[in-house]
C-alpha cells in the first residue's frame, strides 16, 4: 500500500497545477456546508448565550430586535432613549437591580458603553490589567480594543465626535484608560466601558469649565448679584483631570438624562414575573426577554441557512460531477501509461490501487482543509461572525 501511495504522490506532485485545482474545488465543495453549519451554530449559540444570560431588558417601545442588538451587542441601531428616572423606577420596586446602558457613541471606532459597576459583576468580566473605573473621564477597555489599538492603563483614548459636521457640536472627550479586561469572547471584548455619567459628558449633557466666580473680565459678559454671563471665550474642558473634575456638572434634571436601555436583573423568578406584569400595558416602554427575541432571530438565520444549503448542494453536485469527469478523462489519457506499467509487471489490481490512492490523497487533503477552515471559523471567528450578522440586520 505504501508504494501505491508513493507512486500516487509522485504523480500528483508531477501534475501540481491539475492537483491543486481539483483539491481546491473539492475543498470548496466540502468546506462550504461545513463552514456554513459552523457559522450558523456559532452565531446561534453565542447570540443565545448572551441573550439567555440577560434576564430582562427594558427599553422604549419599538423594534425589540434593534433594542436587543444595541443593548447587548453594542451595534448602534438608533433606538429611542429611556431616562435615568426609568432605572430609578425599577430600583424603587425593590424587585430587581437596574443596570443602565448608554450606547451609540464611539471611541476610536469601538463602541463606547456607559454603564455602572454592576455591569462588570453581572457579566463576570475580569480585569486583566489596571483597575476598575473610579471617577469621571476614565475608561476600561475590552481585550480586543486593547490588542487592536495597543492601549494599556495610563494611555489616553478619544471619543469620536458625535456631530462631525456640526462645528457647535460636542467635541471629543479625552478619556484615561485605567484598566483592560480579560477576553470574554463576546461583544464586551470590543467595547470601551465608561461610567454612565462619563457617557453623558461625552455626548454633551455635562461639562466642565472655568470657575465664573474667578474668571477674568474678558470672559464674563455680565456679572450681577449671583448671576454671571460668559461669552464663547469661556474655556470648556475636553479632558477630565483631578484638577478640574469638580467643575464638571450636568444641566437639567439628572433623572431626565438618557439611557439606551436598562438591563433588569430580578431578585428571583417571581420578581421577574411581577415586573413583566407591570410593563405589559405600558404604552411607551417594553420589558422583554432577550432570549425570546434572539430565538426569533435564530429562526430567521435557520430559514436563510436552508435556502443557502440548497444552493450549496447544487453547486457541490456540479463540482463532484466535474471531479469525476476530470478523473475519468485523466485515466483515459493515461491509458498508455497504464499499459506500460502492466508490461513492466504491475498487476491490474496494483494499477487500480495507485489510481485509488491518487483519489484518496486529493479527497483526504480537501477534507482536512475543509475541516481546518470549519474549525477556525467555529472557534476564532465568533465575534467577527456576530458583527457580520448584526451589522447587516
Amino acid at each position: 500500500m505504501k508504494d501505491s501511495l508513493y507512486l500516487a504522490w509522485r504523480y500528483l506532485h508531477h501534475h501540481r497545477a491539475k492537483t491543486l485545482l481539483l483539491v481546491l474545488s473539492l475543498t470548496v465543495f466540502l468546506g462550504l456546508p461545513l463552514v456554513m453549519r459552523a457559522m450558523s451554530a456559532v452565531i446561534q449559540q453565542s447570540l443565545m448565550a448572551r441573550a439567555e444570560s440577560t434576564p430582562l431588558l427594558l427599553g422604549k417601545k419599538g423594534s425589540s430586535l434593534d433594542l436587543v442588538v444595541e443593548a447587548l451587542y453594542f451595534q448602534p441601531k438608533g433606538i429611542e432613549a429611556l431616562t435615568a428616572a426609568d432605572a430609578d423606577e425599577v430600583d424603587a420596586t425593590g424587585l430587581a437591580l437596574a443596570i443602565p446602558m448608554r450606547t451609540g457613541l464611539l471611541a476610536q471606532q469601538f463602541p463606547l458603553v456607559g454603564t455602572s459597576l454592576d455591569y462588570f459583576a453581572f457579566r463576570g468580566l475580569e480585569s486583566a490589567n489596571g483597575r476598575a473605573l473610579a471617577t469621571l473621564g476614565e475608561c476600561v477597555i475590552g481585550a480586543e480594543v486593547a490588542a487592536t489599538l495597543g492601549l494599556k492603563p495610563g494611555d489616553p483614548m478619544l471619543t469620536s465626535p458625535s456631530t462631525l459636521f456640526d462645528l457647535a457640536g460636542v467635541y471629543p472627550l479625552r478619556l484615561h484608560v485605567v484598566g483592560t479586561l480579560k477576553p470574554s469572547y463576546g461583544p464586551d471584548d470590543r467595547a470601551v466601558f465608561v461610567d454612565v455619567k462619563t457617557a453623558w459628558v461625552a455626548e454633551g449633557l455635562g461639562h466642565g469649565h472655568q470657575d465664573l466666580a474667578t474668571a477674568s473680565g474678558d470672559v464674563v459678559l455680565k456679572r450681577t448679584d449671583g448671576t454671571a454671563t460668559a461669552n464663547a471665550k469661556l474655556v470648556q474642558y475636553s479632558e477630565i483631570t483631578d484638577a478640574n473634575v469638580d467643575s464638571f456638572h450636568f444641566h437639567g434634571d439628572p433623572s431626565s438624562h438618557p439611557l439606551s436601555a436598562i438591563i433588569v436583573v430580578p431578585a428571583d423568578d417571581k420578581a421577574g414575573v411581577l415586573l413583566r406584569g407591570r410593563f405589559v400595558n405600558d404604552s411607551a416602554r417594553q420589558l422583554l426577554r432577550p432570549a425570546q427575541v434572539v430565538e426569533g432571530l435564530n429562526a430567521q438565520i435557520f430559514r436563510f441557512e436552508r435556502v443557502l444549503q440548497i444552493i450549496v448542494w447544487t453547486v457541490g453536485l456540479a463540482t463532484a460531477l466535474m471531479f469525476v469527469l476530470v478523473m475519468v478523462l485523466s485515466w483515459r489519457l493515461r491509458a498508455d501509461e497504464l499499459r506500460t506499467m502492466t508490461r513492466l509487471g504491475c498487476s491490474r489490481w496494483k494499477a487500480v490501487q495507485i489510481m485509488g490512492a491518487e483519489v484518496f490523497l486529493m479527497v483526504g487533503t480537501s477534507v482536512a482543509l475543509a475541516a481546518f477552515f470549519g474549525f477556525v471559523i467555529a472557534h476564532y471567528g465568533e465575534t467577527w461572525l456576530q458583527n457580520l450578522v448584526l451589522r447587516g440586520s
Binding site: K2, S116, G124, A132, L136, K182, A228, A232, L234
Partner: protein, 326 residues
C-alpha cells in the same frame, strides 16, 4: 524512500507509535477547541471576608457602629486631618468603597466626590434622601450662562443634616434598614440597637430645643455656614461668617464682623472648634460668648458622636441659659 518529501515520505517516516501520539494530540486539540470558552457568567462574589460598611462621614459611621451586629466591619476611610465634605479620595480609596457591601452616603450634596465617582449603585444608600421635602440652601448660589443653553445655577445645598437630631434619627433609620438587608439574620439585634440610639438622639434633640427655646428670638453668629439644620430645627436665628478656628482674624474679618453685628447684634457665636485666644478676646470685647459646637464630621480624639453632641448641647444650653452651667 524515507528521505522523500511530501505525504508519502511522512507516512514512511512515522512509525505506528508516533502516529498514535499525533492522533492523541489532534484529539486533544479538538477537545480543547470544543471546551466552553469565556468568563463565568455569575456576579462577582465577595468571598469569605466579613461584610463591610463604608461611610462618607463620622456620624454615619457612628450610627452604623451602634446598629451593626457583630462581624460587620464599619469603615470611615477619610484621613483625620481633612473635612470629609471636601475630601477627594484617591482611586485606591474609591476602590475600597467599591468593594464594600454597603456604602452609606449622607445626601444633600455632602461629599462632592461621590457625584463624579463610580460607585456600585446597588450598594449605595443615600441616608438623608426622603428625610426632608427639600434641603436647605447654602446661599452661595452662582447662576451663569454660556452658550445657547440658557441660565443654569450650581446651587449648593446645606449638608450638615445630622445637626438636626430628628434628621439624624431619620438617617439612622435608613442605616438600620440597609443593615437589616445586609444581615437579615440579625434583624432583632439591629432593631434593639436602634431603639437605644433613638432614645439617645431624642434626648439630645430635647436638650438642644430646650437650649434654643431659652434663647428665643435673639440673634446668634456662627464661624462657618454649617449650622443651617440646627438653626432650622431649633428655631435659631444664625448668621454665618467664614472664620477659621486656627487662624487669627484679619482687620477685614473684624470689619466684616462689626458690620454684621450692626444688622445682627448677636451675643453668642458658635464655633466648630476652640478659636485662638486673640479671636476669643476680640469677640469678648464685643460682648460675644464663644460656644464650641463641633459638628463631629470626623471622629473625636476622645469619646464618640454622642459625647461630642452632649458636650455641644451642654455648652449651648449654658450659653443660652437653658440649663445651669456646670
Amino acid at each position: 524512500m524515507a528521505s522523500e518529501p511530501g505525504p508519502a515520505g511522512l507516512l514512511t517516516m512515522l512509525d505506528s507509535s508516533t502516529r498514535r501520539a499525533c492522533l492523541v494530540c489532534l484529539l486533544g486539540l479538538v477537545a480543547l477547541g470544543c471546551s466552553k470558552k469565556g468568563a463565568p457568567q455569575t456576579p462577582a462574589s465577595n468571598g469569605e471576608r466579613p461584610p463591610s460598611v463604608y461611610t462618607v462621614n463620622y456620624p454615619l459611621a457612628y450610627f452604623a457602629e451602634r446598629l451593626a451586629p457583630e462581624g460587620v466591619e464599619v469603615v470611615f476611610p477619610a484621613p483625620p486631618e481633612v473635612d470629609p465634605a471636601f475630601w477627594k479620595p484617591t482611586p485606591d480609596a474609591i476602590g475600597q468603597y467599591q468593594r464594600a457591601d454597603l456604602i452609606l452616603l449622607n445626601g444633600a450634596g455632602y461629599a462632592r466626590w461621590t457625584r463624579t465617582a463610580t460607585l456600585p449603585k446597588s450598594r449605595l444608600v443615600t441616608t438623608a434622601d426622603g428625610c426632608r421635602d427639600t434641603f436647605l440652601r447654602t446661599g452661595d448660589t452662582m447662576t451663569h450662562q454660556h452658550g445657547p443653553d440658557g441660565d443654569h445655577a450650581h446651587e449648593g445645598a446645606a449638608f450638615t443634616t445630622w445637626l438636626d437630631m430628628r434628621l439624624a434619627l431619620c438617617q439612622a433609620s435608613r442605616v438600620r434598614d440597609s443593615l437589616i438587608e445586609l444581615a437579615p439574620e440579625s434583624k432583632h439585634s439591629i432593631e434593639t440597637n436602634f431603639e437605644a440610639l433613638t432614645h439617645d438622639l431624642t434626648q439630645l434633640d430635647t436638650r438642644l430645643r430646650g437650649a434654643a427655646k431659652a434663647w428665643g428670638d435673639q440673634p446668634m453668629l456662627a464661624s462657618h455656614p454649617v449650622y443651617q439644620y440646627l438653626a432650622d430645627a431649633c428655631g435659631l436665628r444664625i448668621e454665618s461668617t467664614h472664620f477659621e478656628p486656627g487662624e487669627a482674624l484679619t482687620p477685614k474679618d473684624i470689619q466684616d464682623l462689626d458690620s454684621l453685628l450692626e444688622q445682627h447684634p448677636a451675643k453668642v457665636m458658635l464655633w466648630e472648634a476652640q478659636p485662638l485666644p486673640d479671636t476669643e478676646q476680640t469677640l469678648g470685647d464685643r460682648g460675644i460668648t464663644v460656644v464650641v459646637f463641633d459638628p463631629a464630621a470626623q471622629p473625636p480624639a476622645n469619646g464618640d458622636f454622642l459625647t461630642v453632641m452632649t458636650g455641644n448641647a451642654t455648652r449651648l444650653a449654658c450659653a443660652t441659659g437653658g440649663e445651669t452651667c456646670r
